[in-house]
């Protein structure tokens, strides 16, 4: 398996009025060619910032790279200039965003928006461009594509607009597609359609996908691997099967436990995780999940645990993995 994208110890912070906010605090991950990796976490955990960092779309004041590398096809793109990034964006790496209602320019025809990047990169004539746009609309199953290509975004429904977004992102056949909560703003039935569409596109073009979401159902549907992020750090990673069947980190366990299931007893209380994530103005020294963890130990507050690999692909960062924590891990310590 070839590594398409490799992030090494990435640190991204924001300089604000009140001080520095450490949004991403040293994460490392990789994406192979042709696979779908889900990046999962609560709001504010830093997953969107990570995605935007890959594309270098963060506003550079107030954001800044504190450290680390982002290797795309072996090259560190953190070091690239804006001009160089422009030739990568849209053609090598693309992104689709959460809210289809606001992600499209309301005053520009849909067809034009789809091929806009192409006209610049590939130097197509306008005639060819329109045909390409129609072709893309067909690809994403938008009916009446010849008519639709000249319409404006507000003439499309939410689900349709998201399809347009996908068409827009795929038009130059990028190697990597970053989907930032693509289905969060959509109805459940439409959600399923969009996910199917993404799956079929991946099969067709071999695109790697980073899927950012907080919805575990979405993850289960189309991802190969899952990475769990919390308060700017990665807590667990593995193949979807591995993590879903045998979650090792308390946070992951809680996440999976909080998903309502159809076979639940009707009187069973819905599980939620009490508390809120830590304030990143004063980032915690140790494990960020400390305050909300049932099995938190003294050491957890002071020191951040390192990765412990359970299989080749599955690791978690938790002091419970340590040999000395057996008593607490098994629940015999009170």
């Amino acid at each position: 398996m070839e590594k398409l994208l490799e992030i090494k110890d990435l640190k991204v912070s924001f300089q604000t009025f009140f001080g520095e906010v450490e949004a991403v605090r040293g994460i490392s991950l990789h994406v192979n060619k042709g696979e779908t990796v889900a990046l999962v976490g609560e709001s504010g955990c830093g997953k969107s910032v990570t995605a935007s960092s890959i594309m270098q779309l963060l506003p550079m004041p107030p954001a800044f790279y504190k450290g680390g590398e982002i290797l795309f096809n072996g090259e560190d793109i953190v070091k690239k200039s804006e001009k160089e990034m422009q030739s990568i964006r849209g053609s090598e790496i693309s992104m689709i965003f959460q809210d289809p209602m606001t992600s499209l320019n309301p005053t520009m025809k849909v067809g034009k928006q789809i091929v806009e990047g192409l006209v610049k990169h590939g130097k197509l004539s306008f005639r060819e461009a329109e045909e390409k746009a129609i072709e893309m609309l067909d690809l994403v199953s938008v009916p009446q594509s010849e008519k639709r290509v000249r319409q404006y975004p507000h003439e499309f429904s939410g689900g349709m607009r998201q399809r347009v977004m996908i068409a827009l992102a795929m038009v130059s056949n990028p190697q990597l597609l970053i989907a930032d909560e693509p289905t969060t703003a959509l109805d459940v039935t439409v959600q399923a359609q969009i996910l199917d569409l993404m799956k079929s596109i991946q099969e067709k073009f071999g695109t790697s996908i980073i899927l950012i979401t907080h919805d575990l159902g979405v993850v289960a549907d189309i991802s190969d691997r899952i990475i769990v992020m919390y308060a700017g750090q990665l807590l667990e990673e593995g193949l979807v099967d591995e993590v879903f069947k045998e979650p090792r980190h308390p946070y992951t366990k809680k996440l999976l436990g909080s998903v309502p299931r159809l076979d639940m007893d009707r009187m069973e209380v819905l599980h939620s995780i009490h508390g809120t994530p830590p304030d990143l103005y004063i980032p915690p020294k140790g494990c960020p999940f400390f305050d909300r963890c049932d099995k938190a130990m003294v050491i957890c507050k002071e020191h951040m645990p390192e990765r412990e690999y359970h299989t080749d692909s599955h690791y978690s960062c938790c002091w419970l993995n340590h040999s000395m924590a057996k008593k607490v891990a098994e629940g015999s310590e009170v």
């Binding site: 809120t276 400390f290 050491i299 507050k301 924590a325 607490v328 310590e333």
Partner: protein
């Protein structure tokens, strides 16, 4: 995953006691609305400058005409067109009248007219907008159509016409007519604003209103709608005042202003034009600066208020 520089003890692997955790504490203090608005407004230096200027000019407009020792209508033919000196602080005009007294009195009248006009706009706007917002769809639609037509009548033309009609030839207009003329079409934006707010808030309390009738509606109006609307209304009023003052000044400049010898900043400017070719620039300079300062102050204050109340701009 042994960290080589860490020495592990049994203690570390004991469960952490409750007091080490503080997941539920909220680290920043909660804030009340209006004091917060004031705090944020204070941060806006420009707005504070404006506020300060307004206070100073307000005070001067009250005491100014009295402290110079001359009455605003006193004519002294031996002292016409005197440049500013120790006796006449702002100089005199072509009839020998003290410009200091006249300028501050003019400020007073301009301010009164502007503020009154804005308040009347407010009154009409709130009532009209409130009714339109609380009424049925049809009532609302009809009322807003009428408002639209009224608003598209060119404001200034109406003002000029009214002043022409109701003033005696060549000698100016009464304050009442001026204010009336200015408010006749200008209340529409305020009405729109109020209506929009009422509609918005009405939708949100709709289920509550649906449960009980009549009395509850006015309760909702008082307790929810009005406090929430006050913010944008306040901003609107603060920005309407300079519009009214500007209109009044323009009228004065076109010889349609207050009856002589009552000065307003506009009429003073008009008088001052004559002084320009003969080198008495101060005659137009004084009212010009005063008008500009007033408008500037209200504008930056209004801007500052608007920014201070915008939840997105919280610092």
């Amino acid at each position: 995953m042994e960290k080589t520089d860490l020495i592990y003890s049994e203690e570390m692997f004991k469960k952490a006691p409750q007091k080490l955790r503080d997941a539920e504490t909220i680290r920043r203090p909660s804030i009340k609305y209006w004091p917060d608005v004031w705090r944020r407004l204070k941060q806006d230096k420009l707005a504070m400058v404006g506020l300060g200027l307004l206070i100073i000019m307000g005070i001067m407009s009250i005491v100014g005409p009295h402290i110079s020792g001359f009455k605003y209508y006193e004519q002294d033919y031996s002292n016409i067109n005197v440049k500013p000196n120790r006796e006449y602080w702002f100089g005199t005009d072509e009839l020998g009248r003290d410009l200091f007294a006249r300028a501050w009195l003019g400020t007073r009248y301009s301010l009164i007219i502007g503020i009154l006009a804005a308040l009347i706009d407010l009154g009409i706007g709130v009532i009209y907008g409130g009714i339109a917002g609380m009424g049925s769809q049809r009532v609302d639609a009809i009322m807003m159509r009428i408002a639209e037509i009224i608003y598209s009548i060119p404001y200034m033309l109406v003002v000029i016409l009214l002043t022409v009609v109701f003033s005696t030839a060549g000698s100016g207009t009464s304050m009442f007519v001026l204010i009336l003329a200015m408010t006749i079409t200008d209340w529409v934006p305020m009405a729109n604003l109020v209506r929009g707010q009422v509609l918005q808030l009405r939708e949100s309390e709709y289920s509550l209103a649906a449960e009980s009738l009549g009395a509850t509606n006015s309760w909702i109006l008082r307790k929810h709608i009005i406090p929430n609307t006050m913010g944008p209304i306040l901003v609107n009023v603060t920005l309407t005042i300079p519009r009214a003052i500007f209109a009044e000044a323009t009228l004065g400049f076109l010889s349609l202003g207050l009856q002589a010898p009552k000065p307003s900043l506009g009429t003073l400017a008009n008088d001052g034009i004559a002084g320009m070719p003969v080198g008495n620039f101060y005659q137009i300079l004084v009212p010009s600066i005063l008008i500009s300062l007033i408008m500037f102050s209200f504008n930056v204050l209004g801007d500052g208020l608007r920014d201070a109340m915008d939840p997105r701009l919280r610092k």
